[in-house]
């Protein structure tokens, strides 16, 4: 029998706990609370019930349970919530983390092995956290001859570009970070940033394998961007709008994949290539060029690029859902909020709690988000699946596929859309 901590003394342990608690409280009081107040000072506070919500008032209201929900409502209406939490970064990062877990377990099942198993009590569910901690704690090594500012900036820019891509995706009616009229054009603009960031990172590392990987990524992304854009033109023609929310709303009766299956297939294939996933993971082909343009990245720089990759994966899957699978549209499965709680309050024995502002989210929003997440997860599953089935293809085959077959199919898709429009099946006077 081994002794885990031979010098363990209970008194010292309790003393260390108390020390930690003391220093934690001291730092909270001296640094944390002033910092919170300073942040609150610069944020434009909302007006609730005719009163301007000052930081002091917010603190007093937080202590009053019946007035928490209006504060939460006001917070949810701010841009910072949308960017950081729900339709934006936090939601996407959560889905991306779930994607990584599902990918590992699914691939393991496909390959007759177990996958992550020990970290966390259930099926290695904390493996991702362990990997993240490892990446954070690792030393970041910069090549001596690297162009340091650009090399440092590239992973951050990559995550920023991926997160701004996420901002365009509408999750539920009215729930989108950036509801712009030229949303699809904005998406194309953001996608156009990725090859630049990749080649910047690859070139600034001043190393041979990243350079080859970066050039490959450049070839791949540039040659697949054209079929990507062309394959989406059909949807734009049919809806007559570039606003992603309007495109999603236009599919209330049927999704566009019914009429434009070729466009959906072309978009799916180009999506795999843009995401550098197998069979199109040439920029990271480890048996040829080590890890491609990620070779010299270490520690959290690599972790940031991985985070950006999975955010991009979520964003592309969400774009596919919005454009072809009907976005948030679906049968109403979420039950309506019980009306008696609003009128009578919650009866808990002798106490009746009346909570103002209770339906935190509307029924449409919950239902839309549910359908969106279900569809997105299904698309992500199909994006992950080829990894277990296909080997990597070669760069000349890839360029041949992109420049001839996919562009041709994208034009066929455009002609189908035009035919549907001129035949009067869709558009004004048609089905909608």
């Amino acid at each position: 029998m081994s002794v885990i901590a031979p010098n363990f003394k209970l008194s010292e342990f309790i003393k260390s706990l108390l020390d930690n608690a003391f220093w934690g409280l001291l730092l909270l009081v001296l640094v944390g609370v002033p910092a919170v107040f300073m942040i609150l000072f610069f944020i434009e506070m909302p007006v609730i019930n005719g009163e301007l919500l000052t930081p002091f008032l917010a603190l007093t209201w937080l202590a009053d349970p019946s007035r928490i929900l209006p504060v939460v409502h006001a917070f949810m209406a701010t841009d910072i919530f949308r960017v950081m939490a729900f339709p934006g970064f936090g939601f996407a990062a959560l889905l991306a983390a779930a994607t990584i877990f599902v990918e590992r377990k699914m691939l393991a099942k496909l390959q007759l092995r177990v996958g992550p198993f020990y970290c966390g009590k259930f099926e290695g569910i904390l493996q991702l956290m362990g990997d993240g901690l490892k990446l954070i704690s690792k030393e970041i090594i910069i090549p001596a001859k690297a162009d340091k500012p650009i090399f440092w900036a590239a992973p951050v820019l990559f995550v920023a570009a991926a997160a701004s891509f996420v901002a365009f995706i509408p999750v539920a009616p009215g729930w989108v970070v950036a509801d712009v009229d030229l949303g699809l054009l904005g998406v194309f603009a953001v996608i156009g940033f990725f090859p630049i960031i990749t080649i910047l990172s690859a070139w600034s590392a001043n190393s041979k394998f990243p350079f080859i990987g970066g050039i490959r990524a450049l070839f791949q992304m540039v040659s697949f961007e054209i079929p990507l854009i062309l394959s989406l033109l059909g949807v734009v023609m049919l809806t007559g709008s570039l606003n992603l929310s309007e495109i999603a709303a236009s599919q209330s009766s049927f999704p566009w994949i019914v009429f434009l299956p070729i466009g959906a297939i072309v978009f799916f294939i180009t999506m795999l290539a843009e995401l550098e996933r197998i069979p199109f993971d040439l920029p990271e082909a480890e048996s040829e060029i080590v890890a491609g343009w990620l070779t010299e990245l270490s520690g959290m720089m690599y972790g940031l690029v991985q985070l950006g990759t999975y955010l991009k994966l979520y964003a592309f899957a969400g774009l596919f859902v919005v454009l072809f699978l009907g976005g948030w549209n679906g049968p109403m499965v979420v039950p309506p909020f019980p009306a008696e709680i609003l009128t009578d309050g919650i009866v808990m024995g002798p106490v009746t709690a009346k909570i103002p502002g209770l339906p935190l989210f509307t029924q449409e929003m919950l239902n839309g988000a549910l359908w969106f997440v279900l569809k997105t997860v299904a698309v992500i599953f199909f994006i992950l699946l080829p990894r277990g089935v296909f080997p990597r293809i070669r760069i000349d085959m890839l360029l041949n596929l992109g420049w001839t077959k996919l562009i041709g199919l994208a034009f066929v898709n455009i002609f189908i859309a035009l035919g549907l429009l001129y035949a009067g099946v869709l558009g004004p006077g048609g089905l909608q």
């Binding site: 390959q111 041979k208 394998f209 069979p279 048996s287 040829e288 089935v389 080997p391 990597r392 760069i395």
Partner: protein, 378 residues
């Protein structure tokens, strides 16, 4: 004053377009060796394989150990194919020591050798799969290989480095009930490897990637002296189990798999077909094997060779013809042991196969040569 330097030492003119890549020894796609590749854009203009990173002096070590103690270290160059790399040495040592091997031992050796060939090819196939970016083809062979490794463990007591063949037979008799277990495992194994066709060998992406890449013509294959699967993939019907049968291979029906294309795809398919052939041979050997009898001739503690003589024996290993040349001067240790390994011979073809290929084809062409870096260095 001008110097006329030999071509290898002359300074080369630096071309701005040419980039030199050191693929290995610390590279996921090289193994324990270095391939110096010069590329122009995506095309390989020159390739210089540079083995020698794992040279361990096995041949020199063999001169200081007697005929029995040579066994555990001579199998080290290819631990996954340890029975087959010992086979020629054991055959030669038997001739030098003048030993006649019992009939049952010969069958046991054939079974062990064929099982080990499958174990080696599965490992090779796993790496071929991951070199092409096919992670399922890495995991499946690595997992199914366990079936045969368990079988070898029952048979020899060790999972990988068996040291099972000794001059005069094999070290231990088969465990009881081995025949039934072996037959069952081998049948399941064969059924399992046939499933690889659906996911790997009939995969359209794999075929389009490896077809017509790294073509080795029949004449070149013979001229470079390649052996084994590389030679048979180029249309040469050459298998030592049929052409120069050793032990009891002449009593068994061995079919040689030959493909005519000579490209990476054919070279990668031949070992897979060979595994099915090995399963056939094992079934035949299990049927024809004498059910009882000795498996080992008792030797004197420190046997001496018979005077000054030399012997060259070769067998068909997982990679091709593997030869062992033993010179004896009548002492307890051999005077010289020389291994003629198939890996090194197959590697000779690599620069010519890679010239003009694309960089993306390098891993598939390189590993389709059925090459094991440690064996080439000895």
């Amino acid at each position: 004053m001008t110097f006329n330097l030999p071509p290898g030492l002359a300074l080369q003119k630096v071309d701005e377009r040419i980039m030199t890549l050191n693929v290995g020894p610390q590279h996921p796609g090289s193994g324990h060796m270095r391939i110096i590749v010069q590329i122009d854009g995506d095309y390989i203009v020159a390739c210089d394989p540079d083995p020698g990173y794992v040279h361990r002096g096995e041949e020199k070590m063999a001169e200081y150990r007697n005929y029995i103690t040579n066994i555990p270290h001579l199998e080290r160059p290819v631990i996954h194919d340890s029975c087959n790399i010992l086979y020629p040495y054991v055959l030669g040592a038997e001739e030098i020591l003048g030993i006649e091997v019992p009939e049952r031992a010969k069958y046991v050796r054939v079974i062990a050798s064929e099982l080990n060939r499958c174990i080696y090819i599965m490992y090779w196939l796993a790496i071929y799969g991951i070199f092409l970016g096919h992670s399922t083809m890495f995991m499946w062979p690595a997992g199914d290989r366990e079936l045969l490794i368990d079988l070898m463990e029952k048979m020899t007591g060790a999972r990988v480095t068996h040291a099972h063949f000794v001059p005069g037979g094999v070290r231990n008799d088969l465990p009881p009930n081995f025949e039934d277990v072996c037959l069952r495992q081998v049948n399941y194994f064969e059924k399992r490897i046939k499933e690889y066709a659906a996911v790997f060998y009939d995969n359209p992406i794999l075929i389009s990637r490896t077809r017509d890449t790294g073509i080795l013509s029949r004449q070149d294959a013979i001229r470079y002296g390649t052996t084994g699967s590389v030679l048979r993939a180029s249309g040469v019907d050459y298998d030592l189990r049929v052409k120069e049968p050793y032990d009891v291979y002449d009593e068994l029906d061995v079919h040689t798999n030959v493909l005519k294309e000579g490209d990476s795809y054919a070279r990668s398919k031949i070992p897979w077909l060979d595994m099915m052939e090995s399963c056939n041979i094992i079934r035949q050997a299990l049927q024809k094997m004498p059910k009882s009898g000795s498996v080992r001739v008792k030797l004197k503690p420190n046997p001496k060779g018979k005077g000054l003589n030399s012997v060259y024996k070769r067998v068909e290993s997982g990679r091709g013809s593997l030869g062992c040349y033993i010179v004896s001067d009548g002492k307890t240790e051999p005077y010289r042991v020389k291994l003629s390994v198939p890996s090194f011979r197959n590697l000779i073809a690599l620069p010519n196969l890679l010239r003009g290929e694309k960089l993306g084809n390098m891993p598939s062409v390189y590993w389709s040569l059925n090459y094991w870096p440690v064996e080439a260095d000895r």
